[in-house]
């Protein structure tokens, strides 16, 4: 880490970023968005969220050389890296950003031109496409000093990060989590926690910092609290009317995913939770006329989030639950600073995508009951095999057991070339007809 880089980074952090961001804001004509009669008042916290995320990506440009930089998968136990002061970049979060900005096809194509198969997860293709072209809506991403992947979400990340390790010529740490077919065993836990402990010397070498147990424990506690707060945020949607929609949650999810273990994310969710609780007490709903409550399965269709939010709201339908947003509330609160490694193994070994389908079915049943869900929209994502497998069985079983109607939309998380408006429309309309009758 060079001194100049460090100075530049801390200058940017304390003075440059706020100043430039203010300038950026001033430059933009403030045109308040047209009020949409189907939505309740917008969330005030959204402004703070935007600040946090913009600042995160903005500072990222100056991170290299000043702070050790790691690229991390969404399911990896990042708390360990935080103990060494890593600046973390989440390619999946970046992929979602690209998807929302409708840049998916372009970046995917760039990867395909280098021989990557169109069936490869589009987060991976976007990331590799970014590597080949440098194109990003975030200005510039800092090159990694370290890659950190866990196969608790899929096997794709393994090969994707191996490719990154090859291109960037940096070390790759892999956290291998045995798939949970039934119940997690003690030997699973010791297998996982031993790996975490073995990573410490590598992390010390790459970061140039010593591991301090107390510091690590504080971070583990902070991540625990953040995740618990996120769970409370989501739980406010069990109220009628729900104070926010899942489409909001898709966006407000960013800090718990990518800034988990940092004070800023915990503080943010306190703010958001307070606002939501106030809305609940005042009876303010995210959708003006909430008459049907829906659940979403799988990752968002990032380029359609806005359109779908408007479409469903116009019908008085509100998404109040999603297995996806729930994933960051479901297991991370297992973290326990008294047993940091062991609890971390459980928290990350038991994430939804690493857990068996019976578990997922039970979870969905519970959520349908807790959130009083009338219908289920299932996104079959071409990118994400581990999330999309079993959905048709799940659909049938939920119908049989709870009589909940559902619809499957075949699409992709970011690669809109796999989305047909016409075909999705027919399915959604038929679903509306079935729900309304």
């Amino acid at each position: 880490m060079s001194l100049t880089n460090k100075l530049q980074f801390s200058f940017m952090k304390d003075l440059g970023a706020p100043a430039l961001m203010a300038l950026n804001q001033a430059g933009k004509k403030k045109r308040p968005p047209k009020p949409n009669p189907h939505f309740g008042p917008p969330l005030k916290s959204a402004k703070r969220l935007k600040e946090i995320m913009t600042r995160h990506y903005f500072l990222a440009r100056y991170a290299r050389g000043a702070r050790p930089v790691a690229w991390v998968t969404s399911g990896a136990p990042v708390e360990l890296l935080r103990a060494f002061g890593f600046y973390t970049i989440y390619p999946e979060n970046h992929g979602a950003l690209c998807g929302a900005q409708k840049m998916g096809p372009k970046l995917c194509q760039a990867a395909e031109e280098h021989g990557y198969h169109p069936d490869l997860c589009s987060y991976a293709r976007i990331d590799l496409g970014h590597y080949f072209t440098g194109i990003t809506p975030a200005g510039r991403l800092p090159k990694p000093d370290l890659l950190f992947a866990s196969n608790n979400i899929c096997q794709t990340v393994l090969y994707w990060y191996k490719a990154l390790a090859h291109y960037h010529n940096v070390p790759l740490l892999l956290f291998d989590t045995p798939y949970n077919f039934r119940d997690i065993t003690d030997s699973d836990v010791s297998f996982m926690s031993a790996q975490l402990e073995e990573m410490i010397p590598v992390l010390e070498r790459v970061s140039g910092r010593k591991f301090v147990m107390e510091r690590f424990q504080e971070i583990v506690q902070m991540a625990h609290d953040t995740s618990a707060l996120w769970g409370q945020v989501l739980a406010t949607m069990s109220h009628r009317p729900a104070p926010m929609t899942i489409f909001d949650a898709f966006v407000h999810l960013a800090p718990v995913v990518s800034l988990r273990g940092l004070p800023v994310s915990r503080e943010y969710y306190k703010l958001l939770l307070a606002e939501l609780q106030e809305r609940v007490s005042l009876g303010i709903g995210a959708v003006t006329n909430e008459n049907k409550r829906l659940m979403w399965d799988n990752i968002a269709i990032w380029y359609k989030v806005r359109d779908y939010a408007e479409l469903f709201a116009s019908k008085g339908m509100n998404f109040v639950a999603a297995t996806y947003t729930n994933a960051w509330a479901e297991t991370i609160h297992y973290l326990d600073q008294a047993k940091p490694f062991e609890s971390m193994a459980r928290a990350y070994g038991l994430v939804i995508l690493n857990n068996n389908l019976n578990h997922r079915l039970g979870l969905m049943e519970q959520m349908i009951k807790d959130y009083q869900v009338d219908g289920l929209v299932i996104h079959s994502a071409r990118s994400c095999k581990p999330y999309s497998v079993g959905q048709y069985d799940m659909k049938r079983l939920l119908m049989e057991r709870l009589g909940v109607p559902s619809v499957v939309i075949e699409a992709d998380i970011t690669d809109s070339r796999h989305y047909s408006e016409e075909q999705a429309q027919v399915r959604l309309e038929a679903f509306f007809e079935a729900l309304e009758n």
Binding site: Y392, D393, K395, R396, M399, E400, P405, S406, V408, E410, S420, E422, Q423, V426, R427, E429, A430, E433, A434, E436, N437
Partner: protein, 260 residues
């Protein structure tokens, strides 16, 4: 007396049905959709009115369905094919619990409750395999007409396995089978089997309840119907005009004031 019309503008055929206030079918029409959906809808409606001896001014309500439902400017309401095939099949065969519609560009399986209301559905439209278009492409390759396919396939002593699930690959497979002088009847039976296999995965995913009614043009193909019955282990209901079931459902919805 007021009359009601349903128009189903599909990818290949545009169909219209006229009913009276007691839901009796007075006239119907099946026309090729061709390149202009609105014209096809007009033509189908005109012919159906003509057969029903009803004048257009006496139509109280018109419902459009099918992929081209947005291209029927004179419709009072647009409803999806899913609901319409359900309504039509339930009306013709009230014990219907499952509808299998195989049209030109998509195939769907619809589950109904005992009132004909849609409970669940599954659709395949990502690729042509498993649809009528697939059979059309193959009929052309084999130089037989669509009407002949069903009867021809019944003459086969055995069937030839078509291993590709993709229309493009299956077509080259058929080309090579023809080159090796394999009997047409056996190839056709293999094709029917492939189509039934594709649709079957959807049937399995939804589960079968009650009687099964097949709708859409492919229900005219006896070869496909027989294989489907064998798979199901039960007879299926086939109306004499399976292509008009969607339009009939639309007309019934019109009778209900546009309620799906």
């Amino acid at each position: 007396m007021p009359y009601f019309a349903g128009i189903d503008v599909g990818s290949l055929s545009s169909d219209a049905v006229i009913i009276d206030g007691d839901a009796n079918i007075l006239g119907f029409s099946v026309q090729p959709t061709g390149a202009h959906s609105t014209n096809a809808a007009e033509a189908a409606l005109a012919e159906a009115l003509d057969k029903a001896a009803v004048s257009r001014a006496d139509l109280a309500y018109i419902v459009a369905t099918g992929y081209g439902r947005v291209s029927v400017p004179f419709a009072h309401k647009r409803i999806t094919e899913i609901s319409c095939h359900g309504l039509g099949a339930h009306h013709l065969f009230p014990d219907t619990g499952t509808v299998i519609d195989i049209g030109g560009q998509d195939s769907k399986v619809i589950r109904l409750d005992k009132f004909g209301k849609v409970v669940d559905f599954s659709m395949n439209d990502k690729c042509a395999a498993g649809t009528g278009r697939f059979l059309e492409v193959m009929a052309e390759r084999l130089g037989v007409s669509l009407d002949q396919m069903g009867a021809l396939s019944q003459q086969a002593q055995r069937e030839i396995e078509i291993s590709s699930v993709c229309t493009v690959f299956a077509e080259s497979e058929v080309v090579s089978l023809i080159a090796r002088n394999q009997p047409k009847a056996e190839i056709i039976r293999g094709l029917h089997k492939a189509i039934v296999g594709r649709v079957w995965s959807m049937v399995k995913a939804l589960g079968v309840t009650g009687a099964v009614t097949m709708s859409g043009g492919v229900a005219k193909n006896q070869g496909v119907v027989k294989l489907m019955e064998a798979k199901l282990g039960q007879k299926v209901h086939i109306h004499s005009e399976p292509q008009i079931i969607g339009a009939l459902g639309a007309a019934l919805a019109a009778l209900r004031g546009g309620k799906a």
